[in-house]
Amino acid sequence: MGPFMGRAAKPVVFILCLLPLAWLAWRATSGGLGANPIEATNRYLGDWGLRFLLMVLAVTPFAGLSGWKGVFRVRRMLGLFAFTYVLLHLTSYVVLDHFFSWRDIWADIVKRNFITVGMVNVVLLTPLAATSTNAMVRRLGARRWRMVHRLVYVIGILGVVHFYMMVKADVREPLVYAAILALLLGWRVAAAWRRRRGRRPAASARP
């Protein structure tokens, strides 16, 4: 991987992250969204919001397993795309599904548990997107910044919970997401465990 590949990585990933949107636009204009295009659009955007969240969470395990640290350079972009798809998901719910009927939307947030969870997740994601710039990292300081961004673990879990609660009976698909999330979070727990065990002999070696 030469320096050129390194420089090309970001624009290439950027384009790749836009492909799901392009596919949606193509299907919407060619009548490929079926009998209920609003439902199809909403589900599709939600699916991709969740997939990008899992991709962000996969960066650290991937770097750890492959030893390739370059992947960290696209983590922020993946995170912002997760936020973008989640926002589009929310927008399609507000505009396409309910056409700004705030009364129905509010009733949904209060009464429908899976919508409550989804809304909480948007609220939790917002500070992460807002503090994604280098300037904000400097302003918060690395330690505090990292603490804020640990929220992404909660957001990932709530994202899967939101999907699981929405499904009527066939929970296979949300369970696949749950399994992937469990692997990604489990890897971190195992890594922390290893680190701690690795430190202990050093500590006991002290006089």
């Binding site: 919407a28 009998a35 209920n36 295009p37 609003i38 439902e39 009927s101 009733a107 429908r112 009527k168």
Partner: protein, 313 residues
């Protein structure tokens, strides 16, 4: 994609059946035979099947715009053929609808196993253009072809003990790939109170759009109770029992808090997952307000006089 702005619900029920037209067995059999011939060829999404002849216009019809055939046959909840909305159309070809028989038992003077054609033959086929309201808050307008369920029940001569009707869908994982996993408990079962079943709005449908029932819509014979959420209208019926006690129903067993026995369309009683105040008519952009008993209050409200519909959801 067709986007229309919803208009207010101004539903007029059309006139009563204009005339009696006798439909002879041979004509029906021809349609049935043609249906078999076509059904053996895979029809993705349900291409036009055999046309019924001599179908008369039935009562209670709405003149609202009918949902396109393509949408009614490609956007289905029929978990026996898969849980995705497009799965039933894709898996439809595996379902064999002839020969088909319906077992009748329980509190009737004439129990037995009835061949599909023998069961249907005595009845005049009517077109009933009904609104279909799914519990998931979407709706369609479908021109069904069928006959009153009450007429069938009368022929079976229920005893004085009969108070409910229990229905059952075919259970055959070979033909119905969705049944290879226990997404819900198979076989699918449904039920009605006897007075509901005898109501002239309730029909057994054997077709739609003037044609044989496409497999993904519940061929060869299904229930249609338009004032209740769609899942009450059980598909591909193989068994019917008249019983003394309220029979178990599939979605109620799955999630009793979400799906009651009655499941009447009711905008004031919310489902935990969906507000039932509004619905999206397939093909329209703006939601419509959901009507009490799906717009059939005038006909059926008296069945529930004095009942707490929030409790008996």
């Amino acid at each position: 994609m067709l986007i229309k702005i919803g208009r207010p619900n101004d539903v007029k029920s059309s006139e009563i059946t204009p005339q009696s037209v006798f439909m002879d067995r041979r004509r029906f059999m021809m349609a049935a035979a043609a249906g078999v011939g076509l059904a053996s060829v895979s029809l993705p999404g349900g291409a036009p099947a055999a046309k019924f002849e001599g179908v008369v216009k039935g009562p209670f019809g709405t003149d609202e715009e009918q949902t396109p055939f393509e949408d009614v046959t490609r956007y289905n909840n029929f978990y026996e053929l898969g849980t995705g909305k497009g799965d039933p159309a894709r898996n439809a070809a595996g379902l064999k609808t002839r020969p088909w028989s319906i077992a009748v038992g329980g509190q009737v003077a004439k129990p037995g196993t009835y061949d599909f054609d023998d069961l249907v033959k005595p009845h005049m086929l009517e077109e009933r253009v009904y609104r279909l309201r799914c519990v998931e808050a979407w709706s369609m307008v479908v021109p069904w072809v069928g006959f009153p369920l009450g007429d069938v029940i009368k022929r079976l001569e229920p005893t004085s003990k009969a108070r409910y009707v229990a229905f059952q869908t075919l259970h055959d994982p070979e033909q119905m790939p969705g049944q290879r996993r226990a997404v819900i408990e198979w076989p699918y079962v449904e039920g009605l109170r006897l007075d509901e079943a005898m109501h002239p709005l309730a029909i057994l449908a054997v077709g739609m759009y003037g044609e044989m029932m496409p497999n993904q819509n519940g061929a060869p014979i299904r229930l249609v109770v338009p004032w209740k959420y769609g899942f009450k209208s059980i598909k591909s019926i193989v068994r019917m029992d008249l019983v003394e006690h309220m029979p178990p129903t599939a979605w109620n067993k799955q999630a009793p808090r979400e799906y009651g026995f009655y499941s009447n369309v009711n905008p004031t009683v919310d489902h935990p997952r969906w507000s039932q105040r509004t619905e999206r008519r397939i093909g329209e952009f703006l939601r419509r307000e959901t009507l009490m008993f799906n717009g059939y209050a005038e006909e059926v409200a008296s069945l529930y006089a004095g009942m707490d519909l929030a409790k008996n959801y």
